[in-house]
């Protein structure tokens, strides 16, 4: 395969992505926004009863030990995985080519693999006011006890579907449909103005 020779992908956020500090930041920025641009975003789905086998495949291929249970998730910086629906998982890798690594491992007896590396845009929000800003968009409880580290959630902001993984005590990775990404990004920046934000 010649994946490493592929040109850089275009970000849907480009014209609206302005690195630097914005909003009410005179007293410091309380959230940091970034597009993480992972090389691979996969959806893995297990047939009913095959979830454990699929979790085992994820461990073998990525080294990530997915906890069993609704919305369970894990990450190690370069890679992350979380459940977002019954029997369904999102697996993310900084590098491209994760689909090929899984291709033989997800057999028809276990489930399916769908490559969404282009179709989803990954946006990270971090900082002491991350929960505050997220609460403006999503009607789910972002408090740490209710939304533990590594866990995943599926929810929406009006018409925009989002999968959200907590990747730090005050950090969330949001996966949105690419076509909505710019609109969501603009709204996210707008909502972050109040607390002061930095785009990295």
């Amino acid at each position: 395969m010649a994946e490493h020779q592929l040109p850089e992908r275009q970000s849907p956020l480009e014209p609206e992505y302005h690195p630097g500090s914005h909003g009410n930041f005179e007293h410091g920025v309380d959230v940091i926004l970034s597009e993480t641009r992972p090389g691979s975003i996969l959806q893995l789905a297990a047939w009913a009863g095959e979830e454990k086998r699929l979790i085992e495949v994820v461990r073998k291929v990525t080294g990530l030990a997915l906890p069993d249970g609704a919305g369970g998730g894990v990450g190690n910086g370069a890679r992350a995985a979380f459940g977002f629906a019954p029997g369904k998982f999102t697996v993310v890798d900084e590098a491209e080519g994760l689909a090929q690594a899984f291709a033989g491992a997800i057999t028809p007896a276990i489930g399916t693999l769908t490559d969404l590396s282009h179709g989803r845009t990954a946006i990270r929000i971090a900082g002491p006011k991350a929960e505050w800003v997220m609460a403006k968009f999503f009607a789910i409880d972002f408090a740490l006890p209710a939304f533990p580290l590594g866990a995943g959630r599926s929810t929406n902001h009006h018409d925009i579907f989002a999968q959200i993984q907590r990747s730090g005590a005050d950090q969330f990775d949001i996966y949105v449909f690419r076509s909505f990404a710019r609109s969501f990004w603009k709204a996210l920046c707008h909502a972050s103005e109040e607390v002061g934000y930095e785009v990295q």
């Binding site: 009913a48 609704a70 919305g71 629906a85 019954p86 369904k88 009607a139 599926s154 929810t155 929406n156």
Partner: protein, 92 residues
């Protein structure tokens, strides 16, 4: 109104889409019994009280749920995956 998704937990009703009366039974695909098809496609129960309904958690995990809801109070009595499996009793 909150509906407790067996996967996602309690979520606001705006995340869900009503997918119809849960009492309907679809005839076998090859069935030519038009009365049965007619009942399935058009007949709906409209009880004042507990009602079996299908809801999709369309703004979340997208699973379809069997929901028992009281049409007089909006109280959701139980939810379960339409595919079967886990059931959540919500009545307090």
């Amino acid at each position: 109104m909150l509906i407790t998704c067996p996967y996602c937990g309690p979520r606001d009703v705006i995340e869900f889409t009503y997918q119809g009366d849960g009492n309907r039974e679809r005839p076998q695909p090859a069935s030519q019994n038009l009365d049965a098809w007619n009942a399935y496609v058009y007949d709906r129960l409209n009880p004042a009280g507990d009602h079996n309904e299908i809801w999709q958690h369309s703004g979340g995990c997208r699973a379809h749920l069997r929901v028992v809801r009281n049409t007089l109070t909006h109280e959701v009595l139980s939810t379960a995956f339409a595919r079967g499996g886990h059931k959540t009793e919500s009545r307090s």
